[in-house]
Amino acid sequence: MDLQNQQRVKDAAEKFGAENVVVILGSSDAEGAEIYAETVANGDPTYAGPLAGVPLGLAVYHMFEPEIKEEVDPAVWEEQMGMMEMVLDPEALSQAVAKMREQCSKYTL
Amino acid sequence: MIAYGESLGGEEDRGQMDRGGIWRMSFFYEVVTNNPRLKHIAGCVYLEGCPLDVLAMLRDKVHDGYRLISHPLTGNIPPEKRLYLTVLLASFTSDDDFVDQESLNLIERALEIYERADRNHIDLDPSSIEDMQFLDEQLMMPVFYQYGILSNREVH
């Protein structure tokens, strides 16, 4: 994850309290999603950014996960997300993030 | 140089370059050595130097159309133990500028082996030097007989 964005996530967690922050990912590939989820939950696995060695434990979801989808107006979802649901692989992406969340997140919805 | 007349030979291994099953051409043999014991051989190119110098000369000759008759690594003598090297070549005078690929490969590999060898520890004890000259000579003797470079009478 971009170094500046890591800093912003870190700042937000400090400011609002980690238990209140939820990170939602829009990644296109499962591997990338997993790394992002790990970064915000367990610390930057590449050890290059401000989150290196900082396990924030944030709740993290992929946009496709049911917990998020059900919070969105179905009409809006269809309009905004319909196409993406077809091109991307919602199943794999959701699984990748859920797996990492179960392993590392201290908070969930 | 010992001139020979016509020869008829079959090129058995046509690995890389096919020049037909039979070639016919005139040629002569040449011995290249840095071994003083073999200086006396008629037609011998003797040079002062190490085996690498001999190999370098061989390479030049192969590029000039010579072909190896004997292998450039005679004997099971590690390069770091070897001061003398003797090789028999044949020159083929033919119309096309033919470079014998197999000879060239063998020389290049031999050069590689000699170039990487640690030759700092060569034993320069006079008796060892004598042994090395002797062994180099002895390994080539059967070849010289076989190709008529020497006859048995001349040696013993």
């Binding site: - | 058995e12 291994d13 690995g15 190896l68 008759i69 004997s70 292998h71 690594l73 005679t74 004997g75 099971n76 003598i77 590690p78 770091e80 133990k81 028999l88 197999e102 000879s103 490969n105 063998l106 590999r109 031999a110 590689e112 082996i113 990487r116 640690d118 520890h121 060569i122 034993d123 004890d125 008796s127 060892s128 042994d131 090395m132 002797f134 062994l135 002895q138 390994l139 080539m140 003797m141 059967p142 070849v143 076989q146 190709y147």
Partner: protein
């Protein structure tokens, strides 16, 4: 052809009043041996010594190692052309073997070509002859004797003693009898049908002085490739006359116990139909190499074989023979496996062979001969220690003041044996 090897296990070697075997101990009457050898007027003197496994003994410079054997039934005698007559063939009947004993010959022929055997310590791990009970013969030639004659005298003396020791054990009941039988090529029994036919292409070092091998007494450089029955090899039909770099010369002992033949026999009738051996040579000239490799592969084709094991002896020059044999066989549709050792430099980073071909895609490595090993001082030295400085694989300054030596594995007899006699090997890391 059917051969029984009657093996008497030798567990120790001792001086004795008579040369004989009793309770698995080989007794040696020193004078008897010395007197026998001094009949050869090419020797100024001969010393006989004993070296047992685990002793703090170093033997240097080693020329050849021979296993004591003699015929007890069948035509001729072992080492035909040297000991046995060449009338008839060996390889049939019964042969007595003093298993676990060896005759080691020691002499300074051309200084830098002979090897080292340590009976204990790190060097002992590399040589198969630290595990045998050795009768060591140390020869000093008469002044002015020609070196070819000296080499021949040493070679024959070793064979004589090996034969003599076995003859004196005749009548001892064997601890083990091994049977080797291989029928005629044209009359294969039913159970072999459908198995792939395999032969052994057996390359013999034949470049010249100190690089010779004898077959029925004939210098192998003068042969065209020919057939030999595997059982003949067990009876000493192939004798080493060479002292090429010690690690990868095939001592007579290794010929007598050829492990490739053993391994092929083991799989015969099960996974393969082993039809026999083709011997070929490793000469100096390219023309000889081309002729021999073509001829050997032609013989394999005539035998109709599907597969060949090819073994090399030595390095550098014979790498060319090895690759030619492999390439021609593969191109003739015969699948090959090669056994060779490597000269990849002390750091293992250089090219291992002096020749190569993509067809050589199945190679068994007998190890890299270049890495060095530290051999600590020994209590007793048999032979001539100053040889450590000049033998192949040793270098000036090898021999330290305290008697320890630093040498390349090359200097150790049998260390990288290319018949696949040991477990030693190399891998890419």
């Amino acid at each position: 052809m059917r051969l029984e090897l009657h093996k008497v296990k030798i567990e120790d070697v001792q001086w004795g009043d008579a040369t004989e075997v009793e309770n698995n101990v080989l007794y040696i009457n020193r004078e008897e041996i010395t007197d026998m050898l001094l009949e050869d007027d090419r020797f100024e003197s001969v010393e006989v010594d004993l070296a047992r496994p685990g002793e703090r003994v170093r033997i240097v410079p080693v020329k050849d190692v021979i296993e004591p054997r003699c015929k007890i039934e069948g035509e001729g005698d072992v080492f035909p052309g040297f000991i046995g007559d060449v009338e008839g063939n060996v390889g049939r009947g019964k042969t007595l073997v003093l298993s676990g004993a060896a005759v080691v010959t020691c002499g300074k022929i051309v200084g830098f070509q002979e090897g080292i055997i340590d009976m204990s310590g790190p060097g002992a791990d590399y040589t198969p002859f630290s595990k045998t009970n050795n009768v060591v013969l140390v020869f000093t030639p008469k002044e002015g004797i020609e070196r070819h004659d000296y080499e021949a005298a040493c070679r024959v003396a070793g064979l004589k003693v090996a034969h003599f020791l076995a003859v004196n054990a005749k009548g001892t009941s064997p601890d083990e009898v091994s049977l080797y039988e291989l029928g005629e090529i044209t009359k294969r029994p039913k159970e072999l049908e459908g198995l792939p036919r395999v032969a052994y292409l057996y390359m013999l070092q034949s470049q010249g002085l100190l690089h010779d091998t004898y077959v029925y007494g004939v210098d192998a450089k003068r042969i065209l490739p020919t057939l030999i029955h595997p059982n003949e090899v067990f009876d000493g039909a192939i004798v080493s006359g060479n002292c090429v770099s010690a690690c990868d010369k095939n001592s007579t002992y290794v010929h007598q116990n050829n492990p490739v033949i053993e391994a092929l026999y083991k799989r015969h009738g099960r996974d393969i139909d082993f039809v026999g051996c083709i011997i070929t040579n490793e000469n100096v000239t390219l023309e000889d190499k081309k002729r021999s490799s073509s001829y050997a592969v032609k013989l394999a084709k005539m035998l109709g074989v599907d597969g060949l094991i090819i073994t090399e002896e030595g390095f550098g020059n014979p790498d060319t023979d090895l690759i030619m044999n492999c390439r021609k066989a593969e191109r003739a549709g015969i699948k090959t496996v090669l056994i060779t050792d490597e000269y990849a430099g002390r750091d293992g980073a250089s090219q291992s062979l002096a020749d190569a071909a993509p067809e050589a895609n199945a190679v068994v490595s007998a190890g890299n001969a270049n890495p060095t090993v530290q051999l600590p001082p020994m209590e007793k030295l048999i032979g001539f220690s100053e040889s450590a400085n000049v033998i192949a694989g040793g270098f000036s300054g090898s021999l330290k003041e305290d008697g320890s030596i630093e040498v390349e594995l090359q200097a150790i007899t049998g260390a990288t044996n290319e018949l696949g006699f040991t477990c030693f090997s190399a891998e890419t890391r």
